[in-house]
């Protein structure tokens, strides 16, 4: 027998005696203190109890970790990744008792390896780089977080429990998001194609069914699709999007006044009206531009004064050297002109997109350079044919 074998036998004898002694209750001072375990807190939680668990583990106020997490989220998104990692890997204290090991049923090595990998992934964000990685992982993390949040709102199952439960809820939430996206697309398309009344009636019918179901048999699953349908169709109506005019590129270059239409219309795409070959008569000439989604470009001769009344749902108006953008943009520019001058009265309606009015196509591109203080600022981008100062409301 070797020395090692002899020692092994002695340890076995000691272990055997130890087991025998365990049959008797030990005094408190002999009990081994339970190791502190990092578990997500069920009681002290805002989202998943990660910061609450950290606060309990380090016996400090969890608000410190919450502030740190928010700061890391804003500083490159690392906080979001780390939080999701903790949400998936760290078990909740739900159903745990003091005597259970922290990672019972789990492979501690795998968990540690997962945390290390995630820290490596998060490292570029922590040091301020990783833009390429950020372009993939941050949207992915936001998608997962959104999925968890959506499922929380829909079912009431919050981000508690084991990692696989959280992952399942995230997947279900993403599924609900996709379904809502399809419903929103369908509602928006129907409203834009002239079926707004049908969508409104469908929404009202769903509302009646939900109220009636409250007294008979609740149909709560109908709430989210109905709200999604209503808001998407409402957004299309608010933006004034109308796809009746077709989809694609329309390029109109009338050669004379007789070729000039009163109105030009396009559902979605790029609408270009070039009036440089038209010799407009003195006085006012009305012109209507109606575009659902896209860019409307109006090119006018330099000797024509342009008076504009434009409504843009979401987007921008750029009229020579002036512009305005945002939501529900009402752009009114009604300058006066001398009696012998041609004045074009533009009435434009763009749902989502832009209205650009210029003297030539170069000017459209030149506009961006003008704000960059280009030293070659030689183009006349003003509505110079108008005789008086413009009034803007």
């Amino acid at each position: 027998m070797t020395v090692e074998d002899s020692g092994h036998d002695e340890r076995e004898r000691e272990d055997s005696g130890h087991h025998e002694r365990e049959q008797e209750p030990r005094p408190d001072h002999e009990r081994q203190p339970q190791p502190r375990r990092f578990l997500r807190s069920r009681e002290n939680r805002v989202i998943g109890g990660v910061c609450g668990g950290l606060g309990r583990y380090f016996t400090v106020d969890p608000i410190i970790f919450r502030i740190g997490a928010i700061a890391l989220v804003l500083a490159g998104g690392a906080g979001l990744l780390l939080y999701l990692a903790a949400l998936l890997l760290v078990p909740s204290d739900e159903g745990e008792t003091a005597g259970q090991p922290a990672l019972e049923g789990r492979n501690r090595g795998l968990v540690i390896a997962g945390v290390v990998v995630l820290l490596l992934v998060a490292w570029p964000f922590l040091v301020g780089g990783g833009l390429v990685v950020a372009g993939i992982l941050v949207p992915l993390a936001i998608l997962v977080a959104t999925g968890v949040l959506v499922w929380w709102l829909v079912s009431g199952e919050g981000p508690a429990g084991e990692g696989k439960d959280v992952a399942r809820r995230a997947a279900l939430g993403i599924g609900v998001l996709i379904l809502c996206g399809l419903i929103a697309l369908g509602g928006a398309w129907a409203a834009a194609a002239g079926g707004g009344t049908v969508v409104a009636v469908l929404v009202i019918g769903a509302g009646i069914a939900i109220v009636a179901g409250a007294f008979l048999r609740p149909v709560r699953w109908l709430i989210l699709p109905a709200v999604t349908l209503a808001i998407s169709a409402g957004a299309v109506s608010a933006a004034g999007i109308d796809l009746d005019g077709g989809v694609g590129e329309r390029d109109y270059r009338p050669a004379s006044v007789s070729d000039l239409r009163d109105s030009y219309r396009l559902g979605m795409g790029q609408l270009t009206v070039d009036l440089r070959q038209v010799d407009l008569p003195a006085g006012d000439t009305p012109l209507t531009l109606d575009l659902g989604v896209g860019e409307a470009r109006l090119i006018v001769p330099e000797d024509v004064c342009v008076a504009t009344d434009a409504q843009i749902g979401i987007g921008e108006v750029r009229l020579f050297d002036r512009d305005n953008d945002g939501v529900d943009v009402d752009f009114l520019d009604q300058p006066d002109a001398a009696p012998e001058t041609s004045r074009l009265l533009v009435d434009a309606d763009v749902g989502v997109g832009a209205l650009h009015v210029a003297h030539d196509f170069d000017e459209l591109d030149y506009h961006g350079a003008r704000f960059d203080n280009d030293p070659d600022d030689t183009l006349d981008v003003n509505n110079s044919a108008c005789s008086k100062a413009r009034a803007r409301e």
Binding site: V201, A212, P218, G234
Partner: protein, 60 residues
């Protein structure tokens, strides 16, 4: 025999959906001209009411 009380969440959500549908129908019939300035508060109020009553019902 006492009749069972209606599901409060469904009642509030149904009324909110009905309000949204009514706004859409009024816009389609030309009674109002829907803009984001109108839609945004209406949509926020409707979804807020649904979420609020949903959260309060779960606490009970």
């Amino acid at each position: 025999m006492r009749a069972s009380s209606p599901d409060l969440r469904s009642v509030v959500a149904g009324i909110a959906v009905l309000a949204l549908g009514a706004v859409l129908l009024l816009d389609q019939t030309g009674v109002i001209e829907l803009s984001f300035g109108i839609l945004a508060p209406v949509a926020c109020a409707a979804t807020g009411a649904i979420l609020l009553v949903n959260g309060l019902s779960r606490r009970e």
